[in-house]
């Protein structure tokens, strides 16, 4: 195993005091950047990129990838504590994480989120280590029909989260509408901008989410009398250990989400799609599925594990093919090029030292990251002890800063306020927010890949069954979509058979 030798060599390179120091700096900066919504991974990496120009490429990439881990970990913190996802992939974490915090179980939720992330990321790194060349080829199998099939699968695994299917569809269509604002990638023309240049960039997903979730939640809480029942939470390191005791119970969810995540990272459906799919699938197949959304640890673990497995696996296509799986990966890619490294099929051959140094640093920084974030759990959970009347204005200010940083635009803050009000009413009227957010995030990509596929096939729908890969995904998606009908028919069939047997016996 020549590669393993290179990996251990990589460990030796990464484990100098200087590099370990860089790791800690990277992770802490990453957490800070990740906690502020809007100032997410890509911005953080971009801001710090110039700092690394004077370092050796190895130290620089170690620091930047630690920053990447830091932001990944930190995304869960605001989702759980304040219902504000810092990153797109932590939206699904709010569904159960925030109710848990409300019940005074923020420590448990944070611990399981971090641990789930760690496991997901670890599986992702293992995958990169052992299957890099094989898996990289798989990404090439994905053309427009395959991408569409994957997005369809994400949507179908998520449909039916609301009680009322019509409300779900209305929320989803609203999301599609919002996603369509801006330039249409296929025709190159502007849609729904009404000649207003501020609308050119479209409505950023984060603005929608900060408004709907963050502000909307605060409005609802205010109405309920400024109460926040997280105060009495036990907050010490014991919580961490107690939570760890519970986690093995969820082994099936962990494995399932890791697989979904790795697969989505490579294909590259991305961490956001992975987290939604991880949540949706866990909800459907878990014994406690119907309790999801009310504060189930499993509902925190499922999306976090999937998101991180995907986030990690997404680095593989970047290194091996030169296509970034996420915006942060894209900025990292730019960094690599400045150091004179050309990501692509030859990177693994020509820059062995660098690649294995990076992979080794991924193992180390993941472990270092877990230790650092776990030790901050009591600190973050303690924030909830602050009275709501003090914390609420702070959250609103943080939301506003976050909304502003996305595009440095004042208008985005007004949008955020508007979405906050919309979020309040949707909640009052019992519309599910998750499908809306999902279609804001994935709507545009879904639409574009569908239309690309249609351009290629001249409008023939059979392109979605044109090979084994896309056929399988599409069929799976359709089964998931009609799962309630399928399972109903299945049980009916079972009953009929039972009747038949009973009839025979009689």
């Amino acid at each position: 195993m020549e590669d393993l030798g290179s990996l251990f060599h990589g460990f030796a390179v990464a484990l100098t005091w200087y590099n370990i120091g860089m790791m800690a700096v990277g992770i802490i900066l990453g957490i800070i950047v990740g906690v502020l919504p809007g100032l997410g991974g890509p911005n953080g990496v971009a801001i710090l990129l110039p700092l690394t120009f004077t370092m050796s490429p190895t130290s620089a990439i170690i620091m930047l990838s630690c920053l990447y881990w830091g932001t990944l970990f930190a995304g869960a913190i605001t989702s759980i504590l304040f219902n504000i996802p810092g990153e797109t992939h932590s939206v699904a974490t709010t569904f159960d994480g925030y109710p848990l915090a409300h019940q005074g179980r923020a420590g448990e939720a944070l611990t399981s989120a971090f641990t789930g992330s760690f496991i997901g990321a670890f599986v992702g790194v293992l995958l990169i280590t052992f299957l890099a060349p094989l898996v990289a080829k798989f990404a090439l199998e994905f053309g427009p029909p395959e991408f569409f099939a994957v997005y369809l699968l994400t949507f179908s695994s998520f449909i039916g989260t609301g009680k009322d299917p019509f409300k779900t569809i209305i929320a989803m269509m609203l999301g599609f509408g919002l996603a369509a604002i801006g330039m249409d990638a296929v025709s190159g023309e502007l849609r729904m901008t009404f000649g207003w240049s501020e609308l050119l960039r479209g409505v950023a997903f984060l603005i929608v989410v900060i408004g709907l979730f963050g502000l909307g939640e605060i409005l609802v809480s205010m109405e309920e009398g400024l109460a926040f029942e997280g105060k009495s939470a036990k907050i010490n390191m014991k919580v961490v250990l107690q939570t760890w005791k519970k986690l093995p119970k969820y082994w099936l969810t962990l494995i399932r989400s890791s697989i979904i995540g790795c697969w989505m990272g490579i294909t590259p459906g991305g961490a956001t799609a992975a987290s939604f799919m991880g949540y949706g699938v866990a909800k459907r197949f878990s014994k406690n599925g119907d309790k999801f959304g009310t504060g189930e640890l499993e509902g925190v673990i499922a999306p976090e594990t999937a998101a991180h497995a995907a986030g990690t696996a997404a680095l593989l296509p970047m290194l091996a093919l030169g296509i970034p799986g996420s915006a942060t990966a894209a900025v990292l890619l730019g960094g690599l090029m400045i150091w004179g490294l050309q990501p692509g099929p030859l990177l693994f051959v020509e820059q062995k030292d660098f690649v294995w140094g990076l992979i080794a640093s991924m193992y180390l920084s993941n472990i270092a990251g877990l230790i650092i974030v776990l030790s901050t759990v009591p600190l973050f959970a303690a924030i909830l002890r602050i009275p709501f009347s003090i914390i609420a204005p702070i959250i609103i200010v943080v939301c506003a800063i976050g909304a502003y940083t996305v595009h440095s635009a004042m208008l985005d803050i007004w949008f955020m306020v508007a979405f906050g009000i919309v979020g309040y009413f949707l909640k009052k009227l019992d519309y599910p927010l998750a499908p809306l957010v999902l279609s804001v995030v994935l709507g545009r990509r879904t639409e574009t890949s569908f239309r690309q596929a249609m351009l290629g096939s001249k409008g023939a729908l059979d392109v979605f069954w044109s090979n084994a890969l896309v056929g399988t995904i599409t069929t799976l998606a359709l089964i998931m979509l009609f799962w309630p009908v399928v399972s109903f028919a299945w049980s009916k069939l079972g009953q009929m058979r039972a009747h038949a047997i009973a009839a025979k016996r009689a």
Binding site: P50, F142, P324, Q342
Partner: protein
Amino acid sequence: MMRRMRKLSIRTSLLPMCAAALTCSLIAPAQAAWEPTKAVEVIVPAGAGGASDQMARLIQSIVLKHKLMKQPMIIQIKAGASGAEGAMDVQESKGDAHKILVAFSLIYTLPISTGLPLNWRIMNPLAMIAQDEFLLWNNAGSPYKTAKEFLDAVKAAPAGKFKMGGTGSKREDQLINFALNKVYGANFTYIPYKSGGEAATQLVGNHIDANVNNPSENIAQWRAGQVRALCVFSEQRMAYKTKVTKDQSWADIPTCKESGIDVQYQMLRAFFLPPGTTSDQAAYYVDLLRKVVATPEWKEYTERNALKQTFVTGQDFVKFLEKDDAYHHMLMKEAGFAKSK
């Protein structure tokens, strides 16, 4: 007829320019020249990690390393609506000399395809620092080994059989595709992708049959033997003679014209200041850019990405822009990409 306009005859105009510059510097008062007083924002109207972003970040690193500017340089990605967001932002920042736009052909095509009031003529042009080449690529496994063989096959095939992928819609890649279809009777169906990187992997994965990527967008796949470079859409072959793949250098790739396909296209890489900025301010940045392109890092970068080295500023740059604009205008109109009113 689809010939690209000839480069301006720079030589003839160089003499009076130098003379003017000399007298200018002699009679200029001894006051301090303009300098940035706060951080300079570099607006990138394209995606993170793309060619414009990489170039901006490289310049940032050169400026930092050689201490060419006292103030820091910040890179801002404003990629919304195919870059219209960034370009409009600079156009609307009247008089703000701490903001510069990394420009490419979007300044010509976007106003035509979208009807946006974007107009490079009201901005303050600094300099063109390079030109990007476009090549015709196919999958290395394809049986068509030369541009002519390939395009003859595409011509003979029914419409929709051969797919060409490219960056975005109604932009440079689709214009080249249109020109190929028109000049040579090729029969490509154009499929727009998000970026050249995506078009590159889609070609390797055989989801499309060709792309017209820049050298930098396909180099990794070319070196790995996954794609084949058929011809370059320029008047002359590229200058770089160092072997990039096992047996080919950029200079070994024939021009499309040599192969009997008379289509030419190159894309400017240039910088603009917002409208209402002064010539002193422009002079500062032109000087800065001149220093940047003289560094070994820049030379290495242009060679690695097979960019055509050039440095055009002042009146020559404006003349170039006018001709280039006219060429794009003509192509866009013929292709029917102009927004219907």
